[in-house]
Amino acid sequence: MKKYVEDLNFQGEEYISDWPSWSPQDIRRKKCALESARLMVDAAMTAPFAGGVPSIEAHIVYGQEELEAVARKVEEIAHQQESWKEAFLYEAVMVRDSDVIIFLGNTRCHETPLDAGCGMCGGTLDCGYFYEQKTQKYGLVDITDRSSERMIDGPLCTARVGDLGYAVGSALWAAATLMVDARPFASMGMAGQKMGYCPKSGMVVGVPLAVKPKNPYVDVNVDYHLINMDKVLDNTRKIYQTARIIRGFDYRKWIPKPKKSEGPEGDDE
């Protein structure tokens, strides 16, 4: 049997900062966020579930390309429906401002319901509302046809959806305890599900998290998809260069100075 060999080389230093983005010090910061995300998933997995039944799966997603792909999917979905448009476009900005996204999904809500006859899905005294709208034989739901004109292929077992809520709640409780910023989003959940994250789930919620001086998920301004930190920085790059061009001088020979006495500007000496 292979024995655990303890690494006793305990020395080093880690410089951590949120600036510049994607610098080594910023990536170290993001790795801290990733550790928090893993602990949040621990909390999600141990949330109270109806009957103690396992039904939650998680996907942790990070990296510049990966988050950009999620953001673009959220933007694509935003334009599919007027009621989503503005909020979802704002939330795509939040994806780009996040360090990590956790997707949490329920693997049973569309296929293996609680079967307790609670009536929460359709307001009836049995599970008929769910089963009558599914392709099924003797209560075994056939999910092999995954095409759907709807964003979410309902009806779902509402008790299982409730379980997903408990999982998301526990993840967020862990985030609050760890003092990292996190919020739950439908837009990111729908995008993640369409991208294949939480592949066995009938419903997915996205929980982005960030370890930054400013919580990315609150205090947004109007037209946030047009006016946000990325855009502000890009506009600075756009404006500042031109501002330099229109007033050039050879700094080796002459630098303008504030006027202190009579005489030509910059000629005080």
Partner: protein, 279 residues
């Protein structure tokens, strides 16, 4: 100056903790930001109608029996649990997301359906799934908060059924009960209150009923024997599946006679409480 000792102040303090938990319920994050959630704290004599409604249901539902007897026994020996009723308005969508999760193409269609069938299920329903997610997050924050205070607790659909039937939080259309205390370890998990209430034979028969695969003999013949005793082959036993008139009658009697009778007995007093609060 002061001195606290003994159990007398426990209940008062669990009620104080319950108040803090209610703050966590209202602080819980929401996805929609549009789900109305309310909570109330119930203890002492006000538990009696809840216990009474759970009584007949306990006769046909083992999990309700466990919750019912635990709460009842604690209450009867002077260790009243404290119940937080967490209610939400989930049967109408004001989102216009048209996501399809409820089984309808649009929120408008769902609302029309819901208007007709509202409250028809044992736990209410129909429900907008996004609103149920918001509600569930609030319930989870209640549980997490209770654990943070190290108060034994369990979130119970059984209590939710009783609260819903009795008309607690009448403006809400979904209810669930978070049961807190008495301050001991594992009141609602290992369930000391339930010790010696179940024989070995009952326990074993439950397992045969609920997990028959564990007891199935060679299935190659198509009608397998079931290993329900040590010498299971002599004589062998077989599983029977069929409609049970007796079980269904009991279920119908419970839902349409016994529970409504108890509800009627307490309804006016409970209703009046909310009317008085609105004044």
């Amino acid at each position: 100056m002061g001195h606290l000792i003994g159990k007398e102040y426990y209940l008062d303090h669990v009620i104080e903790v319950a108040k803090s938990i209610v703050l966590a319920i209202h602080k819980a994050p929401q996805i929609t930001g549009k789900t109305k959630i309310e909570a109330e704290i119930i203890w002492g004599e006000d538990l009696e109608p809840i216990i009474e409604v759970m009584g007949p249901v306990a006769k046909v539902m083992r999990y309700i029996q466990w919750d019912y007897e635990t709460i009842k026994k604690c209450y009867e020996k002077g260790e009243s649990p404290v119940i937080i009723n967490i209610g939400a308005k989930v049967s109408k969508s004001n989102l216009n997301w048209n996501c399809g999760a409820c089984g309808h193409d649009t929120c408008k269609e769902f609302n029309a359906y819901s208007k007709e069938y509202k409250g028809g299920g044992q736990m209410g329903g129909p429900s907008c799934n996004w609103k149920v997610l918001d509600w569930a997050m609030a319930c989870d924050w209640a549980c997490a908060s209770a654990w943070q205070y190290r108060v034994d607790n369990r979130i119970m659909g059984s209590v939710g059924f009783a609260l819903h039937a009795l008309g607690f939080l009448p403006d809400m259309d979904a209810n669930i009960g978070l049961v807190l205390g008495p301050p001991r370890d594992m009141v609602y998990y290992n369930r000391e209150e339930m010790h010696k209430s179940m024989s070995y034979e009952m326990d074993k028969q439950d397992m045969v009923n609920c997990v028959p695969t564990m007891f199935t003999a060679f299935p190659g013949g198509g009608t397998p024997m079931y290993k329900t005793k040590d010498d299971w082959w002599a004589p062998p036993e077989f599983m029977g599946i069929g409609y049970s008139e007796e079980a269904m009658e009991m279920y119908q009697q419970l839902l349409f006679e016994e529970v409504p009778e108890i509800v009627v007995k307490h309804a006016d007093k409970i209703e009046a409480r909310y009317k008085d609060k609105k004044k």
